[in-house]
């Protein structure tokens, strides 16, 4: 079975500061990894994804994430955040191969950017 742990339920930061949102996963097989963002009263929007290849993945809005297989992590980073980045961020995983097609989500991290 696969699972996702987002270590921080809330992360408050000041505008223009760097931020890292942590995500760890567990799976017995190869994985695909995703980060989604959910702005207030909206659906989920795909930020970035790791399928294969380079472990550093760049997404929209200046976000990037690094896949670390040995540490089973996929942390999300941004060097300088804006007020508009305030949102809930979800890490998700599913295992390649077999019949598993369900994205398993973490519980989310609420990023609050303060002026």
């Amino acid at each position: 079975a696969q699972s996702v742990t987002q270590l921080d339920s809330q992360v408050p930061v000041f505008e223009e500061a760097p931020v890292e949102l942590r995500c760890n996963y567990s799976s017995s097989v190869s994985v695909y990894l995703f980060w989604y963002v959910q702005y207030p009263n909206q659906g989920l929007q795909l930020l970035l994804k790791y399928l294969s290849g380079s472990t550093l993945v760049k997404g929209i809005n200046g976000f990037e994430a690094e896949f670390n297989k040995s540490q089973t992590s996929f942390h999300l980073r941004k060097p300088s955040v804006h007020i508009s980045d305030t949102a809930e961020y979800f890490c998700a995983v599913f295992s390649s191969g077999g019949s598993n097609y369900k994205l398993t989500f973490g519980k989310g991290t609420l990023l609050t950017v303060n002026p």
Binding site: V4, S9, Y32, F34, Y36, N41, Q42, G43, L44, Q45, L46, K49, L51, F90, A92, F94, S96, Y101, K102, L103, T104, F105, G106, K107, G108
Partner: protein, 113 residues
């Protein structure tokens, strides 16, 4: 349409009533998913449709929940005899390839009073 469309966006219902939630996936997307998001929680998988294959209903929490999909288009999620614990945002997503992430709708916020 350009995105996944869900209706209604908000629904308030009395305990014990039935509700029906609708999802219009992106045209051409063969896979359709329903997830439930309770306040402060992650997304909970409910059901998956892929083309004309039998749906995977393993995530439905009780027999009060059911879902249908017409071919590769619209899907409806029905909750019978709603309970207060059914209050949540119900999200629909579609995908053309399960390995490349899903496109989500804006969700239906269900409140059972």
């Amino acid at each position: 349409g350009a995105g996944v469309s869900q209706s209604p966006s908000n629904k308030v219902t009395e305990k014990g009533k039935d509700v029906e939630l609708r999802c219009d996936p992106i045209s051409g997307h063969t896979a359709l998913y329903w997830y439930r998001q309770r306040l402060g929680q992650g997304l909970e998988f409910l059901i998956y449709f892929q083309g004309n294959s039998a749906p995977d209903k393993s995530g439905l929490p009780s027999d009060r929940f059911s879902a249908e999909r017409t071919g590769e288009s619209v899907s409806t999620l029905t909750i019978q005899r709603t309970q207060q614990e059914d209050s949540a945002v119900y999200l629909c997503a579609s995908s053309s390839d399960r390995n490349y992430g899903y496109t989500f709708g804006s969700g239906t916020r269900l409140t059972v009073v």
